[in-house]
Amino acid sequence: MFTKSMWSKLLTFIFAATLIIGFSSMAGAAVIKVGSLNDMTGATSDVGKDYALGIAEAIHYVNDTGGINGKKIKLYQFDYGYRIPEALTKYNLFKRLKCVAILGWGTGDTEALAPTVARDKMPYVSASYSGHLCKPEKTPYNLFFATDYSTQSRGLITAWYRKKWPTKPDYNKRKPRIAMCYMFASPFSSASIKAAKDQATMLGFEIGPDQDVSLFAIDTKSQILALKEFKPDVLLHTNTVMSVAATLRDSYALELGADNIIKCWGYDENLPKLAGKAAEGAIGCAPWAFFGLDVPLMDKVIEYAKKYNPGIPLEKRTIHTVQGWASALGLAEALKRADKVGDLSGPSILKNGFETMRGYEIGLGIAPATFTATDHRSQSEAKIYEYKNGKFSLIDSVDLRTEWPDKWANEWLGW
């Protein structure tokens, strides 16, 4: 029989042994270490879980297909619950573990860490796609593989103007009317509003009163009623999916009669489930293909989802898994290029990795990625989908660089 003191000795021994093994493992073997900050339990976990799963599965795929020129990636993936103090200590832990780059998450951690990653020269590939992060002068080490929010909003407005406005009875009789629904105080939601208004003005829209819709909103009737007088033809939504679904439902119930155009985080497979009939005809920007669509590499995404997370039914997986894959594969490519020149330091990953990419094709339905030393907008193309009859279909693709080359090059960088 174990006595009380024997139990306590045994427990102390196990704890001490685990600690010793833990600390000793930090002296690493010949692998490339990458940190990943994810939100599985916090405020953005509705979209964060799938993204995190995508990251882990994509790193398995990279390792299974030769790694980084033969070296395996060791992924340290942590859930920080969208708590910023947690993100700060995790960042320092990644540095201590000698991670060469970090796959970050939302606006909260990305903005809190932006000057620090610049000082430490630590490449930080985030899922925050704010246009503010694209100017290397200000945020040299913040990167992402997606169409930035500002380009998404410009593309959405342009696509609606081209494809939908001519079908309206008032076409050529008056200016089209647009209003924007977003959380004023959220840097994430409001990131692209200035660009959206600029694009709407340029195309000759009449812009209605902005509506403050919380990211946690479940009732938006007052905002929709406030728009009734303005009678918008189209509403731009820049919140996440729960809040967008609430706005769509209320807009449908109160018969506002406006079309809906939605930024990437509000436009996924859960939108029709949450908004029901109100989601019919919703137009959104999705820089990646929806989960399961027939695009290059999607077979691998499905295969690895089945292999590593068999407990999650495929029908529950979303576009955010594909997003996670895009970030991880993009970073892996940058690491391969930097490793080829034999230097995996932060500046080398930036200069010899990311900034050598010119029209780099990841697959997964993503437009080719290009980074230069003066411009970190990886894509100029906004892919526009429409949800109709139970499926998402690509209806347009707006390439801002091709359509407005001067403005793209000289005016629109960094906001």
Binding site: Q77, D79, L93, P187, S190
Partner: protein
């Protein structure tokens, strides 16, 4: 009386001896040893991760001290302390970024130190505002009124209104070089560490002194039995509000200190969960003891980080373990509170007191 070793029994001959901080040369030696560790060994041996963990411990201590004062010493249960920390952080940030400071104050690096004092005062006053219901309610009802502080302050005022001052990316991004104390720009974990030490020591000493004054005794009397305290002539309402002010003041310092560790500030930094966490810290550390706030913070931060590092090697075999660690961490937090409530209801501070007594009497303990 020996000035080196404290003899068994209490041989103090006057109040000065009785209330002396360090009663013997041995205790003085121990404190000098502790100061050497804190000021020399830790900062010069630790890497930036260890220092950032130390800074998080300091931030937790500063938060927990205010909660300890309210719950542990004055018996006023609070679940809204993160709001007062947020008020301190936002006041300091706004003052630094928006206030037209005279040039000489900026040059001398005094803007931030002055903003800390003002932040502490404003957070204290804000805390008093939410302490007002304590005149009429206590217990569960007070918990709800203090929770309202979180929702009104962070979710409504800061998120909806304060965050909009100055436009996005201006007011609340703290560019490198903004936080300056005298000639030093606070731009590394190393410098933040020394600031943290300064604030923790000043706040701990101030609180310890306050508690052995008339005010502190009044708080303890209110905690033990507010009706008896009133019968004895203590103005219960006044002292309760004073406790809210002092707790808010320390919370304000915590918030203003924490911005030195950040490059940007947003309402996400001050979730309601943080208030709950701070209550957990003092329950584990020991309610009604300054040591409790310190031990609780050490326990909650160091044990969690150590556990995390310990599970890392298991990550190869169980890849989801690292991702699921936050679940483990929260489960450990809950279990630790249950375990402490059952097996060590007086917290770590009581265990520390027992250990000290054991060695004080050693080898002739009875």
């Amino acid at each position: 009386m020996s000035t080196t070793w404290l003899p068994c029994g209490n041989y103090h001959q006057n109040y000065t001896e009785d209330h002396a901080w360090w009663q013997t040369k041995f205790i003085k030696g121990k404190m000098i040893f502790l100061a050497l560790i804190l000021f020399i060994v830790i900062p010069f041996v630790s890497d930036s991760y260890m220092l950032s963990v130390c800074n998080l411990i300091g931030y937790t201590i500063l938060g927990a001290l205010g909660v300890q004062l309210l719950i542990g010493f004055c018996g006023q249960i609070t679940l809204g302390h993160a709001a007062f920390i947020a008020v301190g952080a936002y006041t300091s940030t706004l003052l630094i970024l928006e206030f037209p400071w005279p040039k000489f104050l900026l040059d001398w690096g005094l803007a931030y130190p002055i903003s800390i004092i003002l932040s502490a005062i404003i957070a204290g006053v804000w805390s008093v505002l939410f302490g007002l219901p304590s005149a009429r309610v206590k217990g569960f009802y007070l918990i709800l009124t203090t929770m309202a502080a979180q929702f009104v302050t962070v979710d409504l005022i800061i998120t909806q209104y304060i965050s909009q001052i100055g436009g996005r990316g201006q007011a609340f991004s703290l560019p490198p070089g903004t936080i300056k104390v005298g000639p030093w720009v606070i731009d590394s974990d190393f410098k933040v560490y020394f600031m943290m030490l300064f604030f923790v020591i000043v706040c701990t000493v101030a609180m310890a002194n306050l508690l052995r004054s008339k005010v502190g005794r009044a708080w303890v009397a209110i905690r033990d039995n507010d009706i008896s305290a009133e019968v004895m002539g203590i103005n219960v309402f006044k002292y309760k509000l004073l406790a809210f002010f002092a707790a808010g003041f320390i919370g304000g310092i915590a918030g203003a200190f924490w911005i030195s560790n950040l490059a940007a500030i947003s309402p996400d930094h001050f979730p309601w969960f943080w208030s709950l966490w701070l209550v957990g810290v003092i329950l584990i550390g020991g309610a009604g003891s300054i040591h409790g706030a310190i031990f609780g913070s050490l326990f909650m931060v160091v044990i969690m980080e150590a556990l995390q590092i310990a599970v890392m090697p298991l990550g190869d075999t169980f890849p989801k373990l690292l991702m699921d660690f936050l679940f483990i961490k929260e489960a450990v937090f809950g279990l630790a509170i249950c375990a402490f409530m059952i097996f060590e209801p007086n917290g770590l501070a009581y265990r520390w007191w027992q250990i000290k007594n054991y060695f004080n009497l050693w080898p002739f303990s009875y």
